[in-house]
Amino acid sequence: MVAAEGQRQELTAASPRVALRSLDTLWFQVAGTLCNLACSHCFISCSPTNRTHEHMSLEQVRTYLEEGVRLGVKEYYFTGGEPFLNPQMEEILEAALACGPATVLSNGLLLDVERCRRLKALSEASDYSLDLRISLDGYDAESNDPIRGEGTFERILKGAVNAEEAGLTPVMTVTEVLQENATQQGRQRFLALLEARGIARPRLKILPVFQLGAEAERSGAYAEWQRLASTDEGEDGPGAESWEHLQCSSCRMVTDQGVWVCPILINEPTGRMGERLTDTLDSFPLDHPACWTCHVHGVSCKT
């Protein structure tokens, strides 16, 4: 352990640091790593038994919302696991929507008619947008279910239809492991599916193929050279400002375990930056292999 720690410190010292330019996006790992699914491609391995991070309480969330307001957060994102597994999720959203716009990343399974109706009421009570993002992994059960689980394709679509009928205009994201999705044809096919199910004005986000590439790299072994060095150039040349294309230059992630640099590194203890948001306003060393992926592929988790 000691040797490993020494190595890490060397590595950290050799890594470029990204400054927090402004805190635009505040993430909440509101359901922790607990999920009612266990998708094969889940990059933080969520499942019904994964308690690496646990549900956040309304009180915990409030503390960070208050800090977020003082620090000028522009928008709030809620993810998990599955956010609607959190029994206080609707109160949490109500509190967030008093502070700014909120986006929920959901797998759609818990979006029954009643819940969608309540979410619509929450959204109407606020001047800010409540955006729902629902993920699918294919155009049919054959492509989706092996990844997300048996029978999930139909259940996800049912949730999406409920959301649409309640007037929530959900954003559907497709992350299928097929290149086809990024093409005009793939898009048409997906739109046709949604329209056939009664989603008249589908909002569609097709996650670009590089994220899948990123996924593959994340699960595979990284080579030594796949790390950022302080001599590497950012987008506009060397120096702190040049890392502004990385989401960690304008976001933080809160879990029940504290504040982390970004949504990607919550399974790395070194990604933890502090207890309160104000503990985490300093720069962060880009010393994790995932940072290389972010830099090269331009990964961003928000809509």
């Binding site: 391995s45 690496t52 986000k205």
Partner: protein
């Protein structure tokens, strides 16, 4: 597709898949994922608590103050005026620009400001240039001007959706090939931000946001605390922007103003064919008055020119109906719910 798999093979495959699934569902009992490894939960938690800081109250206050400290941009303040007109997003719409200059003059604007994006979407880019010059319009660069004057290959509009990018490219290529090198150079001569005084209110003029030239500021997606912090940082009494295409005005709890002046290049996705700009007037003791002004122009002639130039039918439809047919993916839920397509 119709390749037959023997029955017992199917069974075996299904069973294997189910085993993997059950494994995944229960693997984390008492364990945590640390990078690629499974470790006992306590080990992860302890390691995590060892990282990060826990500052005391005084240090937190100091951190927060440093983080929010105002930045001086050294930009000279123009004015003071008692009334100005501000618009953005011309998108090659010379008909609307003509109507705007006329309307602003009639309504007593002492200065006229353009927040950028002269080109894109509409026909005959070069027609806009003499109007801007003769009208003595004080301009800043939008992402279009920044891209065209630097020879960039795309408009840097900031769309994420492939269809939106497809149409954005048509617009940009059309505009780029029809602007003279002189016009493009002229675009690059404008500053990226301006400051102007109306009465004793100092206003900051930017294209997307003070932080980013192509940031979309929609009413339902820009929190009030965010806007207050921006205005503190920039030390101004009001911030005027465009870029997103939808106009809005918010009087902040501090009494200051955030305004998206809208665009005059295409209608505001509300089923009406007119476009929008803003008038800012010093009201003396009553403070600053912000008016979002509708602007009617000859949209039929614009549509005809667009058809003659073979611009996409989708664009023409927007001009004639007032409903957007593209750029819909960037809209937040509330703005999207109000749109037709």
């Amino acid at each position: 597709m119709s390749q037959r798999i023997p029955e017992d093979e199917v069974d075996k495959e299904q069973r294997a898949r189910r085993d993997v699934a059950v494994d995944k569902l229960t693997a984390h009992r008492g364990m945590a994922t640390w990078g690629e490894r499974l470790v006992p939960l306590g080990e992860f938690r302890q390691a995590a608590q060892g990282y990060g800081r826990q500052l005391d109250a005084a240090a937190r206050q100091q951190q927060e103050a440093n983080f929010l400290e105002p930045q001086a941009d050294g930009v000279r303040v123009e004015g003071p005026f008692s009334k100005i007109a501000v618009f953005g997003g011309v998108y090659n719409n010379s008909y609307a620009l003509e109507a705007l200059l006329e309307d602003a003059r009639r309504r007593g604007a002492e200065a006229v400001y353009c927040l950028g994006d002269f080109g894109g979407f509409g026909p005959h880019p070069e027609k806009v240039w003499p109007l801007l010059r003769q009208g003595e319009v004080r301009c800043i660069q939008g992402n279009y001007e920044a891209s065209l004057s630097s020879g960039r290959e795309d408009c840097n509009c900031g769309y994420a959706d492939p269809r939106d990018n497809h149409f954005a490219k048509i617009s940009y290529d059309y505009t780029a090939t029809r602007c003279s090198p002189e016009y493009k150079r002229w675009m690059g001569t404008h500053p990226l931000r301006r400051r102007v005084r109306v009465g004793d209110h100092e206003l900051l003029l930017v294209h997307g946001s003070p932080r980013q030239i192509n940031e979309f500021l929609f009413a339902s997606a820009a929190s009030t605390p965010y806007l207050e912090v921006l205005l503190n940082e920039e030390r101004c009494d009001g911030m005027l922007c465009t870029h997103s295409g939808l106009h809005w005005h918010r009087r902040l709890p501090s009494g200051r103003h955030a305004v998206n002046v809208g665009v005059i290049g295409r209608p505001a996705n509300d089923g009406a064919t007119h476009v929008w700009y803003s008038l800012l007037t010093d009201g003396g003791a009553a403070g600053l008055s912000v008016e979002l002004a509708p602007l009617v122009y000859d949209h039929q002639s614009l549509a005809q020119d667009m058809r003659d130039e073979d611009l996409p039918q989708e664009f023409v439809e927007t001009i004639l109906t007032g409903w957007w047919t593209t750029c819909l993916e960037i809209l937040p839920a509330k703005e999207r719910a109000r749109s037709k397509f």
